[in-house]
């Protein structure tokens, strides 16, 4: 960034002609700020010279500036000698200014210098236009014009046009207008009948009726959701190395469509995306809305802890960028390593936002189901009561059994496992039938199951029950403490592709860890180095809770710290086995443990510390059902049996219900413990600075940027406050940015050309008063997007003809003043949708899971995507339902500028290339659609001439001219309808909105 700054012509500070001495605040302070303060300010200024403060510049004893005496001022000496700033000497004009200021007495102004105070020609300050409060501008007088229906929008537009001697173009032809507004609002062409009806309707409200109908159509949400998805860089895979598909991310896309179709007020639309899970935790849609926060890429291959921490910082930068650009049109992400070089966003501001969003996590979560939640709570209560009854009944018997086994001194009762093995005796399961059999270099010895670290493991038959929450427990002795990656006990799918295991030393030498497939549930426990396990058996247990929490225990004590993983795995009955001595199958590599497992157990719940401790101190003692029964009187046995049955039935129901409820998963924000955010000098984790509390951007006028939260505030509070701050009615950016976005899609160019950037590097508004009027009107109309659309598309500005006019081209070739409606090519999705609609192939089903026109190849956990042309109605849905992986070649849609969702595309490029022509001309889908179009036309009309007319109606919604008819009839006669249909799909008129 630093270098970038220097590229920009620095001619600014001299812009005020100086008869009077230079103005410190307006000329000198910005000069010092941009040239000197990067080094000469802050806690440790270079050369101990702090030029941001008066006391620094005029330091007693060692002043850098001596008023009136440049020659005695070290600051001037160094600058004049070309030594400062280093490498980039000050331009002459600025030198002159600096000298004049010193000569004229070096009057200081606001102290300390705030580099953001004023906008200069190189950067924006607090006085930047976009940050100022929304004012409702006065609507210009209606000029004398032949336009009969001038809206407020038109009056603002005309005021600018007449300033240049220009005027609006006349209203366009009805057929052109209806085609325009159809594509614009719903992304599909009108049918012939719809065009006819409109052309014939002479009522004053004919157009308004069409607009109302389109806004009420569910296709509106499909069309405009696609725009929003571009902005939030919504993709359906993770990106990076594995690029794993997100099977349930479409719920967010669906929610966006529903929200738009129901005209959810935009402030609520924003709030739910930022904090729906917090604001309405029981509302499934509110949870789905948070898919926004995690719409972007997410790396799942992270290496060691240091790499992991850096990746998280990168991820936060991306999230902050997404939130700032989407809702505020500010690139706050540019202030991670230094203050923003162009906008008044300090580095601290960045970390305040990063703190506010510090709890954002990527993953799938259950969609809340209020009814099921009540039921679950009820069942859980019942189950708890039965469990207590059982405990009362069992406890004396349990103690008695333990006493007989020589373990009667236990204060607490050891928990009951679902499977238990004492390998010192055999591999038999002491509870059920999960008898473990040795394979390869595995043997029974008096010490237990011995494993050779090469091929040896013990494996059980498949589990007869489902297993989600669980605890793995084993007493292990290791052959060496330097071995890396062997598993003591592992629950895995029979192929080993999914597993949870107790693993030794894999990621950190001599440390225990919870291993899992692809490290997806791994984090370091941060436990101590193992020193004893080579000498004696060590007890290690890992408890996996249903909510994904994973906690390790060594010898009955907490091992390091537990953590929240991505969620637990539901291992299925008959599709799960337990192995000992191998991290996961297949056998080999560093997965094999060299050592001995004496005793091991499996529980179907996450044991508490107390339970683990009890189990550890029991020294391997536990009580089986049979032993318990033996100690009970017959009637007790019967009661126990009844209670047990009831217990198991309840547990089963609960499990099923939970299963069903969690079946509704959505890819959304899965909050993490946000921790405390620190300012990072140069964005570097190695140089953490002060603790930063969550907050907003201080330069935004209106809502207070201070959230009044402590640095360690819970995630929920942080995001709630962030949502409040962003959507505050007096946040001027919030409304300005969205009305500009909407305008951009209606006209092809925004009032501000850069919809994601209202900062210094972005465009300047072509119609600032109109922008503010629209924004204030939008707020007044309760943030209704549909009202805003209607306001815009009913304006004469929108309805004018598109033909170029020589007079206007000469003055305003780019049409920034809107003297015409500029024609534009349809986006790739709209081209595809129009081909489907015109050919009659379109499957108009709205909402739900999408389809994929990629062949997805999984290569050892990495997904690859090859475009192809699948046939069938489920693939003939609109393009918004297409699966959108990142970094995949989309085939011919790529060439039509459909963006890779790896990055935000607030403004798509519109290119014209030979590859695009080849795609549309030759691609399998395009040819197939042309064939279907031909079949449809042949069905509707007989004879070449009638067929041509019909084809024209379907493709262009008009009759052919005589020349066109002649040309097309000949082509049909010579080569059949298919060739004509192919030509029409490729024609300029088909893909252009005029």
């Amino acid at each position: 960034m630093r270098r970038l700054l220097s590229l920009i012509a620095l001619c600014s500070f001299t812009s005020i002609t100086t008869a009077a001495p230079p103005d410190f605040d307006k000329q000198i302070a910005p000069l010092l700020a941009s040239r000197c303060l990067d080094c000469h300010s802050g806690a440790k200024p270079k050369g101990k010279l702090d030029l941001s403060r008066k006391t620094g510049a005029f330091a007693v004893g060692t002043p850098a500036v001596v008023p009136g005496k440049p020659a005695n001022s070290p600051l001037w000496e160094r600058v004049a000698a070309g030594e400062m700033p280093p490498k980039k000497p000050l331009p002459e004009a600025e030198q002159k200014l600096l000298k004049e200021w010193i000569e004229s007495g070096a009057k200081w102004g606001a102290d300390p210098i705030d580099p953001f105070r004023f906008t200069t020609s190189t950067r924006a300050g607090y006085d930047w236009w976009a940050l100022q409060p929304l004012a409702r501008p006065k609507v210009p007088e209606t000029p004398n014009t032949k336009h009969q229906t001038l809206t407020v929008i038109d009056r603002f537009v005309l005021a600018k046009l007449s300033g240049k001697g220009l005027s609006l173009s006349p209203e366009t032809a009805r057929r052109t207008l209806i085609r325009r507004v159809y594509f614009d609002l719903i992304g599909l062409p009108p049918t012939t009948e719809e065009v006819d009806a409109f052309v014939k309707d002479k009522g004053a409200d004919a157009y308004e009726k069409v607009v109302d109908k389109l806004l009420a159509s569910s296709h509106y949400g499909e069309r405009w959701a696609r725009h929003w998805l571009d902005v939030v860089r919504y993709g359906e895979t993770d990106g990076f190395e594995r690029n794993t598909p997100r099977q349930n991310s479409w719920h967010y896309r669906d929610w966006v469509m529903r929200a738009l179709n129901t005209d959810l007020p935009y402030d609520e639309f924003a709030r739910l995306q930022l904090a729906g899970d917090v604001l309405k935790p029981n509302d499934p849609d509110a949870v789905r809305a948070t898919g926004f926060l995690v719409a972007s890429v997410h790396n799942t291959v992270l290496g060691n802890d240091q790499m992991r921490a850096v990746a998280r910082q990168d991820e936060l930068e991306d999230i902050v960028g997404g939130v700032g650009q989407t809702f505020l049109g500010l690139t706050a992400n540019c202030a991670r390593c230094h203050d923003h070089k162009f906008d008044p966003i300090s580095q601290t501001d960045f970390y305040r936002l990063a703190s506010a969003l510090g709890g954002v996590g990527f993953g799938e979560r259950a969609v809340p189901d209020a009814k099921a939640s009540v039921e679950i709570a009820k069942l859980a209560k019942e189950l708890d009561a039965v469990a207590k009854e059982l405990a009362v009944l069992e406890e004396p018997a349990r103690k008695a059994v333990l006493k007989e086994k020589g373990m009667g001194k236990l204060a607490t009762v050891a928990p009951s496992p679902v499977a238990a093995w004492d390998f010192r005796k055999s591999g038999d399961d002491l509870i059920g039938k999960l008898h473990a059999k040795p394979t390869g270099g595995a043997n029974f010895t008096p010490g237990g199951a011995t494993l050779d670290g090469k091929t040896g493991l013990f494996r059980t038959p498949p589990l007869p029950f489902d297993l989600s929450a669980k605890t793995l427990e084993a007493w292990v002795k290791l052959d060496s403490l330097t071995q890396r990656g062997g598993g003591a006990i592992s629950v895995q799918t029979p192929d080993g592709a999914t597993f949870d295991a107790i693993v030794f030393g894999e990621n950190e030498p001599a440390r225990w860890m919870a291993g899992s497939n692809g490290f997806v549930r791994y984090k370091s426990f941060g436990g101590t180095e193992e020193k004893d396990a080579a000498k004696e058996h060590v007890h290690f247990a890992v408890a996996f809770a249903a909510d994904g929490t994973i906690i390790g225990y060594r010898n009955g004590e907490l091992y390091g710290k537990g953590y929240a993983s991505k969620g637990s795995v539901a291992f299925k009955a008959d599709k799960t086995v337990v192995v000992f001595g191998c991290r996961h199958e297949p056998v080999g590599g560093n997965k094999m443990l060299a050592g001995t497992v004496s005793v091991a157990r499996l529980y179907d719940k996450a044991l508490s510390l107390e339970e683990v401790r009890a189990s550890f101190t029991s020294g391997g003692g536990f009580v089986t059902d049979a032993e318990l029964d033996a100690k009970l009187a017959p009637e007790q046995r019967a009661t126990r049996s009844t209670l047990r049955k009831r217990h198991d039935a309840l547990a089963g129901q609960l499990g099923t219900l939970r299963q069903r409820t969690t079946g509704g998963k959505t890819y959304a924000n899965v909050p993490l413990a946000p921790g405390v955010t620190r300012f990072l000098a140069r964005g570097d984790l190695a140089t953490p600075g002060a603790v930063v509390a969550p907050g907003g951007l201080s330069a935004v006028t209106g809502p207070r940027a201070d959230f009044d939260l402590k640095p360690d505030a819970p995630d929920a509070d942080r995001r709630r406050k962030l949502a409040e701050w962003i959507t505050a009615p007096n946040n001027p950016l919030f409304a300005r940015v969205i009305v500009n976005r909407v305008w951009h899609y209606h006209f092809g160019v925004g009032i501000v050309e850069t919809p994601n950037d209202f900062g210094f590097n972005g465009g300047r508004p072509s119609h600032p008063e109109l922008l503010d009027w629209l924004a204030s009107e939008f707020v007044e109309r309760k943030y209704s997007l549909k009202a805003l659309h209607k306001l815009i598309v009913t304006s004469a500005t929108y309805r004018q003809a598109s033909a170029p006019r020589k007079d206007a081209l000469a003055i305003d070739a780019d049409n920034r003043l809107l003297w015409r409606y500029k024609p534009h090519r349809l986006e790739g999705e709209a081209v595809r949708d129009a081909m489907l609609a015109v050919s009659g192939l379109l499957n108009p089903e709205v909402g739900g899971k999408g389809f994929s026109d990629y062949k997805i190849r999984d290569f050892n956990g990495t997904a690859y995507f090859d475009p192809f042309d699948p046939i069938g109605p489920e693939f003939h849905r609109r393009s918004v339902y297409r699966f959108t992986p990142r970094g995949a070649n989309q085939g011919w849609l790529d060439t039509l500028d459909c963006p890779d969702p790896a990055a935000a595309a607030p403004r798509r490029a519109i290119t014209t290339t030979p590859l695009q022509a080849l795609g549309l001309w030759n691609n399998g889908f395009a040819l197939r659609a042309a064939d279907a179009f031909a079949v449809r036309v042949a069905k509707d009309a007989d004879g070449a001439e009638k067929q041509v007319r019909r084809a024209w109606q379907l493709a262009y919604q008009r009759d052919p001219t005589a020349d066109e008819l002649k040309l097309a009839t000949k082509l049909v006669t010579d080569h059949g309808l298919k060739s004509l249909c192919r030509v029409l799909f490729n024609s300029n008129e088909f893909v252009t909105v005029e």
Binding site: R233, E241, D814, W892
Partner: protein, 461 residues
């Protein structure tokens, strides 16, 4: 600020290319380019510098000794075994005496053409982010690749071929696939175009189903006339005229692409030199020869991959965690002869003087084995602290090595060269000031080199 790039055309050739630089970089090319075109051989997975181009006798001496570092190295898998000597013998080559190991006996034969940089450093030791940085300067998906920047800055010399062509390894695409040759936020025409084998080397070059030649011709003519009538009605809109022209160019591409991809007329002897006759080298040989033909016809930048997906067994990349000897031995055998032949061929055709050859890998490998702390294992882990890449051809100082790692090849000791610097140097050789080739996106005038980059002057002739 001028932002409207809508009616822009890829194939505007030299004139358009100048306009692009003019309009958006804000500058004319600052110097006449030394290289008119470039080819990159991209080794995926991480080639061991200490087994190939970075000669470290001290490492051989300390074979079997511990690293002896105060801090534990932060390697990907966290295993720091004992130091391991190279698996191949190093020799001084040619007149220059450049050190190249026996891993690359053929490339060693053209050592006098190489400019080796032994002091590369990377931002990431994680394959895909590292490969992204090597390609685009950023660890995230979504940034334009070097080839895309060159396409944007210089265009193609030919109007019937794309500016940026990608030739993936026959075993598959590297992780990240098309993200590696993405145009990012640059307009779509700057995306790398994959040339496949077969009759239709470019996707959709010909109709998916056969269409009789007469019908094809008449349909084109009808389209042209229809568009012409529409153009007249709509007042000669520039974008519409451009669209018509794109169809004319597409027709030219249909001739040019199969012609350039047809290797049948290349001399048999040359093909043998490239390695067409050997199953090991055939894939790379074909792609290297195709690359030369593409460059000859005016393509600006060709990327040839060595290595497919990262995961899997046996490996299909240079990711030698298990055994450097087995893995690198097999990978080098696939590319060594074709690359050497490419350089000789370019030289023989007098193209090497204005063609830049780039040989890269996303990071290097550790001098210590990836194994338990008391063992000299056979594999090596990722190393972002120091590794080797080389340049050859236009504007480079031939037969030299620049920069150095420490005495065992673990970290850079002299003249570190980050990817930004490497990219700045490549752009410089192609006549571009890396600070001036910019494109506005979301608040920033983006550059290939982000906010960094210094041209490595010492490697320039």
């Amino acid at each position: 600020m001028h932002l409207d790039r809508r009616d822009f055309f890829w194939s505007a050739s030299a004139l358009g290319a100048m306009a692009a630089l003019h309009q958006f970089g804000g500058a004319k090319p600052h110097h006449s380019p030394k290289a008119k075109r470039a080819i990159q051989i991209s080794l995926v997975g991480g080639m061991s510098h200490i087994d190939s181009f970075d000669h470290k006798p001290e490492l051989t001496k300390r074979h079997g000794k511990p690293l002896g570092s105060d801090t534990k190295p932060d390697v990907f898998f966290g295993q720091v075994g004992l130091l391991r000597k190279p698996d191949w013998e190093f020799k001084q080559r040619g007149k220059s005496g450049l050190w190249v190991s026996e891993l690359f006996p053929h490339i060693a034969g053209v050592a006098d053409e190489l400019t080796v940089i032994n002091s590369m450093t990377a931002d990431s030791a994680n394959h895909t982010p590292a490969l992204f940085v090597q390609n685009s300067g950023f660890q995230f998906n979504g940034y334009p690749a070097l080839g895309s920047w060159l396409s944007y800055g210089l265009g193609s010399e030919a109007d019937d071929l794309p500016a940026f062509v990608v030739l993936p390894d026959g075993r598959g695409e590297a992780n990240g696939a098309a993200s590696n040759w993405s145009n990012g936020f640059l307009p779509a025409q700057h995306q790398g175009v994959v040339f496949r084998g077969g009759d239709s080397p470019v996707r959709d070059l010909f109709p998916e189903k056969a269409i009789p030649a007469g019908e094809e011709k008449d349909s084109r003519a009808a389209l042209e006339k229809l568009n012409q009538m529409h153009l007249e009605r709509s007042g000669s809109e520039g974008a519409l005229a451009a669209r018509m022209q794109s169809y004319a160019l597409a027709a030219k591409m249909q001739l040019a692409v199969p012609a350039v991809a047809d290797l049948s007329k290349e001399p048999a002897k040359l093909k043998t030199q490239y390695g067409f006759d050997d199953a090991k080298t055939a894939d790379c040989a074909r792609r290297c020869l195709l690359a030369r033909r593409l460059l000859e016809k005016g393509v600006r930048f060709v990327q040839v991959y060595s290595g497919g997906p990262i995961a899997g067994s046996p490996r299909t990349s240079w990711d030698a965690h298990e055994s450097v000897k087995d893995n690198h031995g097999a990978e080098a055998a696939r590319i060594d002869q074709p690359i050497a032949a490419l350089i000789q061929d370019l030289k023989q055709k007098d193209m090497l003087k204005d063609t830049l050859v780039i040989f890269t890998t996303e990071f290097g490998r550790t001098p210590f084995a990836q194994s338990a702390g008391n063992v000299v294992g056979t594999g090596r882990d990722h190393n972002k602290y120091g590794f080797s890449c080389w340049l050859a051809g236009a504007g480079c100082k031939p037969g030299t090595a620049f920069g150095a790692t420490d005495e065992i090849g673990w970290k850079v000791a002299e003249h570190p060269v980050a990817w930004y610097d490497f990219h700045a140097t490549v752009l410089h050789l192609l006549g571009i000031d890396h600070e001036k080739l910019t494109y506005y996106h979301n608040g920033i005038n983006r550059r290939l080199t982000n906010v960094h980059g210094e041209v490595v002057k010492d490697v320039l002739a």
